[in-house]
Every structure is written in C-alpha cells, then in structure tokens.
C-alpha cells in the first residue's frame, strides 16, 4: 500500500495539489491512525491532511475517485459458460496449458487479471505517461507485458487445428478483445491521473509565451484559457503586494508618541516608538492603442490592471485609434472579456493617429496625472506619418511619476517605416517590447515594486 500511496501523491501533484515530502509523511501517519477499512473516513482524513484550500479539496476528490476506483471495475471478464468441463483448455493446442494468461481469461478470474494488469503496467511504466499521443503505444506495451503474443499464437494454432478447439478458441478470442478494451481504459485512466493536469500546465506555460499580435488573432479556446491565466497572474501579484502596506521601521524616532507612551511609566521611555511609513498604492493611467495589431495586447493589459484592483488605488483607462476616449465606463459596465469589443464599437475603425490621441488626452485628462501616477502606454507607435506630438509626451513625462511604453513589436522594428518609437522612447522612463503574457506580468510587477519604499 506504501507504493500505492506514493502513486496517489504523484497523481495529486499532477492535478496541481501540492504534496511536499513533509505532507506525504503526515499522510502516512494519517493512514496509520485511520486505516483503510472505512473508505469515507480514509478519504476525509487524507483530504484534511493534503488539500489546503477549497479548490484543492475539489481536485483532491476527483483524483481520489479516479485513483481508488480503478481496482474495483478495471477487469471483469465474462464468467465461464455453465456446464463447461473441468478443463477449460480442452481442445486447445498444448501451448495453452503453459499460458497463465489463457487460463485466467478462460476462467474469468477478474481479481487475478487485475493483479496481472497492475504488475504488467508497472513493467511497462504506464504511469509515466505524459502525452495523450502515448496512449496507443502504451496500451500495446501493457498487453505485450501481460503475454498477449502468447494468446495470439495459441489462437492461430487452434484455428489451424480446427475441430473441438474452435469453441474454446472463440471464447478466448472474445476474452482477448475484452482484455484489450480494458487495457485501453486502464491506460486512459492513467493518462487522466498523471498527464491531463501536467498537459494543462504545459499548455498554460506555452500560452504565457504566445505572441499576442500573431497573424489571424488568437484561437477562442486559447483566449478563454489566457483570460483565466491573466487573472491568476494578477491575483498572484495582488497577493504579494497587498501584504506590504505598512513598512515597519524606518529608523526615525517618533518623539511625540514615545513621550506619550512613557507617561505610564513615570516619564521613563520604556516603549520607544519609531516612525512608520505608509506605502501609497499605485495610481495608474493606461492609454491603449486599440487598432487591429494591438487590440489583443490591449485587452490583456486591461484585464490585468482591472484584476489588480486590490493593490491599485486608482486606475483610469483610455483607448484610441484615431481619437482618444475614456473607457472607464465601458469597463465598469461590461466584463473585461467583452469590453474591448464594446470599446472598438465606440471608437470605430479609424486610422491610427498618435498625435491626435495625445492632443485629446492633453486637452481633457492631463489633470489626472500627478507625481504619484504611473502612465502605461500600449501601442506600436506607428503614426501613419502624422505629427507624433512629442511635446505632449514630454509634458506627461514631466508631470508623472513614470511613463512606461509597451510596444508589441520587437525593438529592431522601432525605427522602421512609420514607427516613431525611437523618438517617443526618449520621453519614457521605460520602453519595452511586450508581446506575451509573461512579459506583461513582469512589467506590471516592476510597476508595483517601485511603489514599495526601501
């Protein structure tokens, strides 16, 4: 049972339930206390030890059910026909006498077959399955380890001989087919246990690096997964940065409060109070180009920023292609996933004009920027050869705490064609290529970090 538990831990890890060695030891102790006899008790006790959040409890339960059920229903071959003689192998060629598998199949001995399958699975290393494409090959290996080639030889010989062996051969054939189906189901379950979760993880890793301005846009299936991923990234950051509200000692004595506290001790300064510094929450202005090539990136940037509401004091979002509008209202009224389409509807498809957009911003919203504000601009800086209005960006830079320009294009393109990125770059504190979720996460983290005093 020791190794079964270890396998179970592995399955849990594959389903993203963290099981550290210490937790594994706890689980073994748990099992010592409760035993295996009562299934429900066994499950609840293990669940209390291993699953550490409501989410993990759900995953634990589904893994538990898949894992511990397989033994009971895995192999249940048809029982031998009534009235069959004492020797089930009668009429079959002599090789059949030596084949354990043939005997088990014809006996309909489910328990023995299940055991044989477990042992064969171990030899075939089925539990190391990683990808769904390995299923067919592993099923084949599993059956071979169980001795299927033997059965096939026996069948071939029996058919050649013909006569009384035919009936037994028919039954053997049927049992072989059932066995093959069971082996396939077994491998499928193993895949579900050990690989499905890690496959998902692999996929998420890949999506985090997927280019957001890819030709033909993003697959809707991927899009949903990426939205979830962005939210998780944001939650992770929010968690990390919401905890550092009060940064404790800055080393300066707070004379007033120390004196006040010392009153209780006859003027003796027992409690020394130091000044603490409040951390201000970031205030962010996001200006997004929503023309075709940048729209996807803009959507993720906005999703990301909106999911950070715990740690961001104030967020104002603006979108432009030809003219610039404030999109706070749209984002408040619609879920972020669909908001971008709403924004596009309002802006319409105009030619991108960075100069005009900056003018609009300076005219109506410049007072929004003060020395606490971080301005994040997302765009490819392709002006269609219009006036880029560098002077306005310079003003924004002067007024704000930081200007960060995220450009989906790699920096080798920044001075080519109608891109004025290399000219805008001079007025930005940071200008970076940002074309994957991973890059996005890193940049936002940098922004949050600058608000934490050292």
């Amino acid at each position: 049972m020791q190794s079964a538990l270890e396998d179970f831990f592995r399955a849990l890890r594959a389903a993203d339930v963290r099981v550290s060695p210490a937790e594994a030891i706890d689980a073994h102790r748990t099992v010592e206390v409760v035993g295996f006899a009562d299934r429900e008790l066994f499950r609840d006790a293990l669940c209390a030890t291993l699953a550490k959040s409501g989410d993990e409890v759900t995953r634990f339960e589904s893994v538990f059910d898949t894992f511990f059920d397989r033994r009971s229903d895995a192999v249940a071959p048809s029982p031998p026909p009534a009235g069959a003689g004492s020797d089930l192998l009668e009429g079959l060629p002599p090789e059949a006498q030596d084949s354990d598998l043939a005997r088990m199949l014809l006996d309909g001995d489910g328990a023995a077959l299940a055991q044989a399958m477990e042992a064969a699975a171990e030899r075939a290393e089925v539990s190391k399955i990683r990808l769904s494409t390995q299923r067919a090959r592993l099923t084949r290996r599993l059956l071979e380890e169980m001795g299927l080639s033997e059965i096939e030889r026996i069948l071939a010989a029996a058919r050649r001989l013909g006569g009384p062996g035919e009936a037994a051969a028919d039954r053997l054939e049927a049992a072989r087919k059932a066995l093959a189906a069971q082996a396939a189901a077994y491998v499928e379950r193993q895949h579900e246990l050990y690989a499905a979760g890690s496959g998902k993880m692999l996929r998420e890793e890949m999506l985090a690096r997927k280019a957001l301005n890819a030709e033909g846009g993003i697959d809707p299936v991927d899009l949903a997964m990426m939205q979830a991923l962005v939210k998780r990234m944001a939650k992770r950051l929010a968690d990390r940065y919401s905890r550092r509200r009060n940064v404790a000692w800055t080393g300066h004595l707070d004379v007033r409060r120390t004196l006040r506290k010392s009153m209780g001790y006859g003027g003796m300064p027992f409690d020394i109070v130091f000044k603490t510094k409040k951390v201000d929450k970031p205030s962010i202005v996001a200006i997004c180009d929503v023309s075709k090539s940048v729209a996807a990136a803009a959507q993720f940037l906005l999703t990301f920023l909106y999911s950070l509401n715990e740690v961001v004091d104030r967020l104002d979002a603006f979108a432009f292609s030809g003219r610039l509008i404030s999109v706070n209202r749209v984002l408040d009224d619609h879920p972020v996933e669909t908001a971008i389409f709403e924004v596009l509807k309002q802006i319409g498809f105009q030619q991108t004009d960075y100069g005009r957009a900056l003018e609009d911003f300076a005219e109506k919203h410049l007072d929004r920027i003060d020395r606490h504000t971080t301005v994040i601009i997302l765009g490819d800086a392709r002006t269609n050869y219009a006036n880029p209005r560098l002077d306005i960006l310079a003003t924004i830079q002067q007024r704000s705490r930081a200007v960060i320009w995220l450009n989906p294009e790699p920096d080798s393109y920044w001075s080519q064609g109608d891109s004025v990125m290399n000219r805008y770059e001079r007025f930005c504190h940071v200008a970076k290529t940002c074309n994957t979720l991973e890059q996005l996460e890193r940049i936002i983290e940098d922004v949050l970090r600058t608000y934490i005093p050292r």
């Binding site: 748990t30 206390v33 006790a45 030890t49 409501g54 905890r243 009060n246 027992f270």
Partner: protein, 320 residues
Amino acid sequence: MTSSPDVAFDAAQSPHLASVESLVPGLAGVGYIASRRIATALYMAVKLQKPILVEGTAGVGKTELALSTAALLGLPLIRMQCYEGLDESKALYEWKYGKQLLYTQILKDRMGEALSDAPDMDAAMDRLHGMGDLFFSEPFLEPRPLMKALQERTGCVLLIDEIDKSDEAFEAFLLEVLSAYQVSIPEIGVLKAETPPIVFLTSNNVRDLGDALKRRCLHLHIPLPDAALEQRIVASRVPGIEARLNHQLVSFVQSLRGLDLRKSPSISETVDWARALILLNAGALEGEVVRDTLNVLLKFEQDIAAVEPQIAELVRQAAG
C-alpha cells in the same frame, strides 16, 4: 515542574474521541451538528496533534466549532482575535514594565548598602554580577493568550480567530508555536507546552495564507450545509421551533442562496431568523412576516431590494 506523562493525553483519551463515530453525537450533545467531514478533521487533529485551519464564509460555524470542542472535552477555551497590527507583545507576552521599574528602584536603593564595603570598582562589579538578574525573569512576564495556552497544564482549546486579518510577519511568528508548541523568549529561552493545546485557526479568506502555515495545519473547509443538515442545526439551536416552520424557512434560505446576492445568508443568519420568527409568533412562513424580517437574513440594501419582489414566489415554493 513535575508532570506525569499521562496528563498529556487526558483530552485525547476522552471517550468522545475514541472514534469519528462517537465524535459526531458527542458534538451534537453540546449543540453542534457536525458533518462527518468536520468530525474526521477534528479527530485527526487530536490524534496527530496538529492545528486545524478552518475556512468558510462568515457564519458557517467556524468559531462555534472551537467553542463546542472545548465544551465537549471540558477544556478551557483561550481565544485570540487577530487583527492588522497584532504583534507578539499582545499575542504572546509582555513585560510588566511597572513592576520592573519598581524593581530597579528598589535595587538602586539597596545598591549603595550592598556595595558600600567593596574596596574598589572591580570588586563592586563582581558583587553586582553575583546578585542575580531578576529584571528579565518569569515573575515579570505578563502572559498573553498564546502563552497562556501553552502554560495550561491539562491542555486547552486555543482559538486563533481570523488569522487572515493579521500581518504576514505575525503569521511567520506563529509557525513555531503551531509546529513545536513552544515559544522562544529572547531574554529567557524556550518555553515548551507540557500538554499541546488543540488549536483552531479560522480564516475568511481575506488574503491567501502562506504555504508554510497551511502545511502545518490540517485543512477543513466548512461549506454551506444542505437542507437536511441545516434543519437539524436550526432544530438544535432553536429548540422551540415547529418542524413545519423549520422546513419552510430552511428551504426559503436555501433558495435565497441560489440567487445572485452580494452576501448569501449563512447558518448563523438562518438561526437568527428562526429565533426572530419564533419571537414574532409566526406559525408558518408568510409574505408579510418575511418582508418585515428580511433584514435579519440579508445584510445589504441592494440584496434586500433584489429579493423583495420575489418574496411571494419564494414563499410559495418553500411552502410547497
């Protein structure tokens, strides 16, 4: 410091803790209707001597579980409410500054007398060192909840309420207490519990707790109960209630939970509501009474506004 080893297992040997099966009726006896999963977690916590981290929305009975356990085992309950800014001096110990101050003053007065016959400075210092330093010693220690819990000779139930409201630093500080049942006091040394307390931590998920803390605890998530369990809870908490009213009000609350509300009513609201209905002598659920008492169940104005037009329909369903 004489301790017999069997004292340590007093609580664990209580007949209620012999098995999970005996724990459920035991808890029911002190008014806590526990699901099997809750009982299992409690049983494991005592057997493995690990703290339980109890999670769930407000009002599902997290704190109540600790209170009932203390009542069941006849142990004292020590409760510590966490909040932002809680630190060691409020949770663990504090020096009795006033007494320390008096002590130094007495010391000063006696000092001249004691040292008057010393021939030179070195001899005086030697004598001073020889006098023993009481300034930082146990008599001057003012124990706070955590330390009190560790000092209880026969064990106790320690409830650390709303751990998620405390700071990260405090959480890290708790690790030593929770895994080794000991505390380090820099001036004195390590104090270890003779009998480890049964520890409950509750969390409302205001923030995610650190992995280190979670690892040291058993995890118990208390979900909102199904109708049958909730009826039993109401019956146990509000003894005078009629079965028919109980059934109606529980199914009304259950259907409220299906709606999209800012704060769904949890068990404590159901129980409060049941009490309110009894006080108003309501024999059965009626639209009028429900409308008047809805504020017991729902705590947000917009929730009440959302539910009000549907009351008649919901009452009809609950009655049917």
